[in-house]
Symmetry: C2
């Protein structure tokens, strides 16, 4: 598998991204094409010790900034790193794209260059760590204003993802709402409840905010506005809790005694809740594989996102998603 990495996206510059690519190529043997300004990438690749690894460079003269409007980037930057990366997939020269750049622009470019599965609203899915393992939240930001039948599509795509990737034969699907009964929720969610309940998914009903991290269901369905807020809230709260707890521990007698020992346990714990361990968020519903990473991804996060991209491409997840949607086209059309 060959992965096209948008090596210019992200908050912290190309060096971080190239370092992640080198780790992925070295650890996993993945072939990687770094896309961006070739002069810069050549020197970063040398700095990162990339000689002898299956990494090549594809020049792209433009960069989409993190603030740029997606439509502007599509119109004005035909030689941007993210666009050239998707062109490589379109031409069959790569099997997937990984980008830590402007996620709106990545989404728009993916839809423009590769296209979407007919009738589907592409959505961003994220695995989060829970008390029981992992759960997938879909959508976490691609669609801020959704119709009920879009939530049904997210359930179908999320369910297939968890079956294929996490090897759960019949994943449970829950709809994020504010009470367990189908009568609870806003208008959008109440209608989506009925659609999901009449589908062939293993739909277990509504789940509440507190159920997500308890791991009550394999797939949590929500619109991209709610999902994005939940995801960022979780990051912020986890950070805040660790900060508060550290302050408490430092203020205690532990500081002078067992703190060094506690740190080890802390580190294992951080690893467990660290989103970067899991890798980026796949964009589902397009005709191809794309992984969207956090703008402030670490080299490890980039490495893991490349591993996920490799895995999804090897599974032909995009083809399977399209087949899954097609097999339900009659049901979805009724919607």
């Amino acid at each position: 598998m060959t992965i096209a990495l948008d090596a210019m996206g992200g908050d912290h510059g190309a060096a971080i991204l190239v370092e992640g690519a080198v780790a992925a190529a070295r650890d996993l043997g993945t072939e990687i094409i770094l896309v961006g300004r070739s002069g810069l990438l050549n020197s970063e690749l040398k700095n990162a010790g990339g000689d002898g690894l299956p990494i090549t460079i594809k020049d792209a003269s433009q960069v989409v900034s993190m603030e740029e409007a997606p439509s502007d980037s599509l119109r004005k930057k035909k030689d941007s790193s993210v666009r050239v990366a998707f062109d490589l997939v379109k031409k069959g020269l790569a099997h997937a794209v990984v980008s830590a750049g402007n996620s709106g622009a990545t989404l728009a470019t993916a839809m423009f260059i590769l296209g979407r599965i007919k009738g589907v609203r592409p959505a961003i899915a994220t695995l989060v760590p829970t008390l029981k393992g992992q759960s997938l939240i879909i959508d976490v930001g691609a669609n801020v204003d959704c119709k009920p039948h879009h939530l049904l599509q997210f359930g179908i795509m999320g369910s297939l993802f968890v079956r294929e990737v996490n090897r759960k034969h019949v994943p449970s699907v829950g709809l994020l709402s504010i009470g367990e009964e189908g009568s609870k929720g806003n208008q959008q969610v109440k209608k989506a409840f009925d659609l999901l309940a009449s589908s062939d998914l293993n739909f277990v009903g509504n789940v509440e905010g507190r159920d997500i991290f308890r791991g009550e269901v394999d797939v949590v369905v929500c619109d991209g506005f709610v999902g994005n807020i939940c995801l960022k809230l979780s990051e912020g709260l986890a950070e805040a809790i660790l900060t508060m707890l550290k302050t408490e521990l430092e203020g205690s007698i532990l500081a002078s005694m067992g703190y060094g020992l506690a740190r080890k346990a802390f580190r294992r714990f951080r690893k467990r809740v660290d989103y970067s361990e899991i890798g980026g968020a796949p964009l589902l519903g397009i005709k191809g594989i794309a992984i969207i990473c956090h703008g402030s991804s670490s080299p490890k996060a980039v490495r893991n996102a490349i591993a996920v991209a490799h895995n999804l491409a090897a599974l032909d997840l995009a083809g399977k998603l399209e087949a899954s949607i097609n097999s339900r086209r009659d049901f979805l059309r009724i919607v």
Copy 2:
């Protein structure tokens, strides 16, 4: 100040609630009327050592269950504990209601008996602990389908609450969305952004999920669907993180060494993130004071909710809210 406590609501029975009332009367000198089945409450009050405290009992023969539809409870249970409690306020015999019962029914009964401030959508506000102190989230569940101008009202009410209760002279107000720019968000939020920006509030713009627990603003405005999910997500995540961390610490060498010492720090930390320390959630926008508590409130949480109710009644918060809305009636009418 006299507080009417719905002594039949909640998940764990009257004993817990009476215990909280006894603590409030003893610690704060608050006069309390326990509302519910007088036989039961008399014996619970004796059990809890309530003799000699300023606590009286008002009989109410019916109880609204946690699952009951609010409209059913209003129609069929005219002698329910929650309704009799609000009747006491209506008649001037109490200054505020505290209930850990069915929150939908509490909300509906408050609006039916006391009425709402003209033109206002009442909302539930909750203080949450942050890295910088406390922030108020409004609405956390009263209104699942909101118009943009309702979000403006929440901002006005939340701002006044923080000014009066937390003594912040000019509270900062943020709108919960998925990006800092006013152009980010769903249709509802984008329109609310413009309304808030043209108001006389100290509106600082959109805030993201991760900003809430960092304490970036004093008041976080959102609709009740999003707010309720955020609140429950936070509870669930905090719980999950503590569970995971405990597992890690127990698995480490700390278990045999400094764990006893670590526990003290843990306890102080729990106290800091414990919602029950803060008390219940005030219902703002009605003509009176009502505090909605978690169904599974501990005696301490009930005690603290009574303290909050006492404080809000003493401040005449409901009157001040009405004056604040009235002074902006021209602006709100434009909306």
